[in-house]
Structures are given as C-alpha cells and as structure tokens.
C-alpha cells in the first residue's frame, strides 16, 4: 500500500469526515527526464470503513449538550439564486455567444461562438469524435456542427455551424487581473450557471515550457535506447518504437540517454527535430514535432482523495500552457463557455473542472492566438469579408441590370439591322 493510501487510512480510521490530512510533503518536482522513472500512479485510495465513533462532518462537539446547536440556512451560499440572479445583466451579452454542444443529441459541453460566421470553440475531449455534433443557440435553434480543427495543448476544438450574423464576445485581456476578480459563467439558457473569483492571477507556463518527446529511454548501443513510447505524444505520432536506438538529434551525435535529455531540455514545444535512428539494424531519419512538456508530462495530476470530493471532474483537467484558475463550481459538461467579468467582458473560455477547489479557463489572449492558429477570421477580417460580400452582391445586381440592358440593346439593334436590310433589299 503506497504512502498516500496509508496517510488517508490513518485519518479515515478515526474520522468519518474526509479530513484534510496535512499533506505529505509534496513530491520533489519530477526530474525533467525522458528517462525511466516510476509513472506517478493516480491516487485512488480505497475508502476505509469508519468506526461509528468517528465524528461525523458536523464536528466532534456538535451533538453534546453544550447549548450550541448547528444553525444553517438553505438560502445562504454563492450558488443560490439570490446570489446568481445578481449577475444576470452582467452575463446577458456573453450568454448570446454561449451554445450547448451535443453529440448524437446528448449534451456534452458548452461552446463559445467566436466569430460572426458561426465558429464555435468547445472542449475537445468532451466530444465523441465519431458522433453527430449539434449546437443549440441562445435563441433555441439547433444547428448541425462540423468539427474543423483541434488544439491538443489547450484541449480546444473548433466547430463550424452553418449560420451567420453572430456578435462575437467582447474580449478583455486577462493578464493583469488580480486574484479576487469577480467572474460569472452564463449557461446556454440565459441563466447564470456559476459565480466565483479568480483564485490566482493568470499563470503562463509558456515561457518556461519546453519540448516533450514522450519516451522512456535508457542507454543503448551507440545512443539512447527507446524503452517505451507514451501514447498520444509526439513520439508516438512520429512512429517511434521501443528498441529504436536514437543516435543523433539534428545531426548532433548523442552518446547516451542523458545527452538526449539535456538536448530536449533546451527545446521548445512545436519544435521540429530530426532524429537519426537505428531500427532493426537499419539507419533511418525521423522528423518529430515536439509536444509541450507542461501539458503532457504533467498529464497525470496528483489529486488527493480530498481533491476529488464535491462533484465530477473533467477527465482532461490539467497542464494547459496558460490558464486562469478560479473557484466557480462547474460540472465537466458545463465547460466550454465564456467566463465574464463584472463589466460584461469575456476574459476566457472555461476549459476544465480540475479539482474540488479549482476550475481552469483559457485566457482571452490564448483564445485570440487559437483563433489565428485554427483559421477563424478576426473581427476585422470578418468585417472585410462581409464588406466584400456586400460589394459582390451590389456588383452582381449591377451586372444583372447591365446584362438585361445589353440584351435589350442587342434586340433593338437586330431589329433595326433587319429593317435596314429590308429597305436596301427592295
């Protein structure tokens, strides 16, 4: 039984309420290694039966005759209508950009309309790729949606619905917003789903992030030997296999796995590298586009049992290159919609319910960059497109009119010509 379980059992054995154990000292940061290391196991401590004497969640003194009884109110709390209703006006505009995404008629996530042309951002991992996607709009209409592109680092999917004329969100930068900034999330039906605050200022890991290959390697004959390839990583996508020997990286010969690790430590996500491999005795060159270390190495969040209490968590909930951490309580299926501040502006798109105490949103700065990357026209481009369409329509009408006039003129000319010939023929 590993350490986490022992700690929890020790507490649970005498305490009914899942206590907050003084966390064991957090594990030292994983050596940034592509070399062998024990994969962090997902902490899933089996719950222990509790002694009846253990104090229930009300606390040890709750039921003694000390004249103090627990008083509470169902009307208190930030998830009650009394509080949420205060944000109805705040989210009203953003609510019109909020859609419900369904796969085979089953709601799976929310989405945010990001262009006049019906481009929608949503949470990629909540979509069941094969199924038929639809978006239910604020006005109640349901439109088929096509999956256009995804970005794995942010777990974002771009959908396109066949409707036009939307007002995209009023974006606001999230960079300088302090912890405590109020935020609300509209649902798909003019409701205020949740209210909370930014728990931390925007965290941007992109500066310190580095490239990630996704292998476990040891020392091999003349280089680094691939022991295993992690699924879904750059290594697996490029076809690297166990037993491959990596001899060189970008023409630089590597002596052993330590050299490989050192080279990778200085790389960047999305960087292209050329690997010189020996596979089954044959020399091969393999190009690899590196992934993000922050995103993929940190894939398994070290969630304690306490972190998992209080509601379902998104399966994909960790490691985004930049993220706003807030305390709005959202279900995984309520992610994908906009996050709104008191001035009605949208500072991000909610992307994951990560633990009991935290929900992540992609900041608007990153959303803008994603729009560029995935081919969504910017507002000015949209304006240009609409203008060009208007011009085309005007000219088409003019052309139609001109062609009709030309046709009439030709007719008149032929008639006149025929008449003249008649006269000359006499």
């Amino acid at each position: 039984m590993h350490k986490t379980t022992c700690l929890l059992v020790a507490f649970l054995a005498w305490q009914a309420a899942p206590f907050l154990p003084a966390q064991e000292n957090p594990a030292p940061p994983k050596a940034p290694a592509e070399t062998p290391g024990a994969q962090e196991p997902k902490s899933k401590a089996p719950p222990a039966p509790d002694q009846e004497s253990a104090a229930p969640e009300q606390g040890p003194q709750e039921d003694r005759n000390q004249g103090e009884h627990s008083r509470g109110s169902r009307d208190a709390g930030k998830r009650t209508p009394a509080v949420l209703d205060r944000f109805t006006d705040v989210v009203a505009t953003a609510a019109r950009c909020t859609v419900r995404v369904s796969a085979d008629k089953k709601p799976v996530a929310l989405g945010t309309i990001v262009s006049t042309h019906g481009h929608v951002f949503t949470k990629a991992s909540e979509l069941d790729g094969e199924k038929k996607l639809t978006c239910r709009l604020h006005d109640g209409s349901v439109h088929p949606a096509k999956l256009v592109a995804t970005n794995a680092s942010f777990d974002v999917a771009l959908l396109k619905i066949g409707a036009e004329g939307f007002t995209p969100p009023a974006w606001k930068n999230a960079t300088d917003l302090p912890a405590g900034t109020f935020a609300a999330a509209p649902g798909a039906e003019d409701d205020v789903m949740a209210f909370g605050v930014l728990s931390l200022p925007l965290r941007d890991f992109s500066q310190t992030d580095r490239g990630y290959l996704g292998i476990r390697a040891g020392n091999g004959d003349g280089g680094a030997r691939v022991d295993s390839v992690e699924p879904g990583t750059a290594a697996s996508k490029s076809g690297l296999q166990a037993r491959d020997i990596i001899e060189s990286v970008d023409e630089t010969k590597i002596a052993n796995s330590n050299t490989l690790v050192r080279l990778l430590r200085n790389s960047k996500p999305e960087q292209r590298i050329k690997l010189g491999l020996i596979r089954d005795g044959e020399a091969i060159t393999q190009e690899v586009v590196l992934g993000s270390y922050a995103r993929f190495a940190g894939r398994t969040p070290r969630l304690s049992r306490n972190d998992r209490l209080g509601g379902p968590l998104s399966e994909d909930g960790w490691g985004y290159p930049s993220a706003l951490q807030h305390d709005l309580v959202l279900a995984p299926g309520q992610c994908g919609g906009p996050l709104v501040t008191l001035d009605g502006k949208v500072i991000g798109i909610n992307i994951a319910r990560s633990s009991r105490i935290r929900t992540f949103a992609i900041p608007s700065e990153a959303v803008m960059a994603l729009m560029t990357e995935l081919g969504v026209p910017s507002p000015s481009e949209s304006a240009a497109i609409l203008e060009a369409r208007k011009t085309l329509e005007t000219l088409r009408k003019q052309l139609e009119t001109a062609e009709s006039a030309a046709h009439k003129a030709r007719e008149a000319y032929r008639k006149a010509e025929a008449h003249l010939q008649e006269l000359e023929g006499k």
Binding site: F11, A16, P18, L20, S53, Q61, D63, V197
Partner: protein, 321 residues
Amino acid sequence: MNLTHYFKASGHPRNRAAAGLAVAALLSASMPVSADGKIDDLQQLEARLIQTAERVRPAVVGIGGGSGVVVSEDGLVLTAGHVVPKAGRDITVRFLDGRTAKARSLGADLGRDCGMVRIEEPGEWPHVEISDAKPEIGQWVFGLGHPSGFQIKRGSPLRFGQVLRLGSYLVSDCAITAGDSGGPLFDMDGKVIGIHSSISNSITRNNHVPIKPFRDGWDRMLASETWGSRRAASRAVMGIMVDRQDESKGVRIGRIMPDSPSKTAGLEDGDLIVRFDGKNTDNYEAFYKLLSGKNPGDEVEVVVQRDGKEITAKLELAKRR
C-alpha cells in the same frame, strides 16, 4: 505571452489584438447596470476582496504539509490541531515571499482541532487580526491556504463564499482541500474568523474551526498543553465499523468488533441499521446523533435489514475502550 510555438506557423501577421480591442470598445458602450444599483455593490465588494486578500496574504504560511496564519508581530501562528498534534516539535514555517522561519509547535486541542505554533526567530512577521465577533450566516468570507502543499511559484489560491452554518464548525462554501488545513478563513475586514479543518463529500461542506474554541483553549495551548481527541466524541458504543461509502438508506455495518454489544446481540457484518432506539436512521448523521445521546449501559433496540428481512436486536451499549 509567447504562445506562437504552440501553434503551427500561420505566416500571416494579423493585427488581431487591435481589431479585437476596437470591436470590444464598440460593444462595451452598454455597461450593465441594474435599476437599484446592484452592480455598484458588486464592484465595491470585488474591490474590497481584492485589496483585503492582497493585504492579508503574506501572513498565510506553510507548516509541513498544511497551512497556518500568523496572528502577532512576534510570530504566534494559529493552525489546525491535526497539523501539529505534538507539542514541542521543531518545525519550519514558510512564507510566500520566500522567507522561512524556525518555529516550535505549541499545544493543541485535538478535539476541536485547534493548534498553535510559535516562530522562534526574532522579527516583525506579517500578521493579521483575529475577529471575536459572532459570524453571521450569509456573511461573505474568503479562504486562503496551501492546497496540495506549499508552492511558492503558485502562491496561495483565493476562494470566496459565504458562511452557511454555525455550530461547532463554521461551515462555508469556500472550497478547501488537503493542504489547506490550518489555513485562515477571513471576514471582509481581513480578520481571521475560522481555521480550515475538514470537508465532506459536498462541495458546500467546508468546515472551519471558529475562533471561540481557540480563545477557550488559548492559555493551555500557549503553555504547550495538548488535549482532547476526536475519538472522544461519543461515549457509548455498539462496537461496529461503519461503511460510509454505502449509499443505501440506513447505516451499513462494515464489520462487527469481537466482544462487542453488537456481536452479543447477534448483528452481522453487512447488516443495514434502519432504526435505532425507535427512530429511523436514514443516514450516518442521524444514527450518530442518536448514539451520542446514549450512555454506556443503556439498552436500545436496533432494527436491521438482512437478506431482505428486518431483524430486531436488543443491545446494551458499552463504554468506549
């Protein structure tokens, strides 16, 4: 923010940001304000939260795998009893500005989950005030701490909510988790009104120790006395281990202890207690409440469900060992 390397090179310099701002400026003409000025209240509350949290945050320290809060300039620290269950231990207190200080655990009331620590290094430590005012249900409060352990680069995440219940615990909907133990719950003046202690499955069940038990045990804790126990909660026992994970309507016996009243009365592992002393026990809390009112030696009738049948047993409750 340099995110370009997360995206394939697109090759088009697009003046996206400027255009976005232009559109935003147009759309922001309509700032939502409701007739009774509610938005102003929210803006004031927000400003107060931001400023107060920033002011008090430096006093929120890491103690081992938990948290604490400094309440005097010379370094008296309040924390949870279970963070420092043994007095007289040398510990290190960590501050968010990178400083660490040698400290010593003082006493603890383990029954109420109060604990104290004293920083031994001389200095003018960032600290906060304690509120002795009676908290009110519905009052706005905020929590700080070090969930999942002290992480200096991350800082201390802020959680905002309201007081939901008062009693032996102050219960709020500021979500807390492992690592937050011992950290402070603040009122909107930035005074400590609670110390994080425990949670339950519900997201709105976050238990904070109120200030009163700290005040009651203050001198004893300062004198490094440790007393109390969470076990001491119920005096009379049936001799069972309860399976809290079972979701049936009733109380599921996980295991019967040998030589116990339950064993003597013929109860078995897996029995579902549905009535205790003539009253329904739909859940553990209801059962526990009834049990706590009993004394060793009391005779009670217990009704359990076993294999679809209801069985009544008479027990003589025993003394906790």
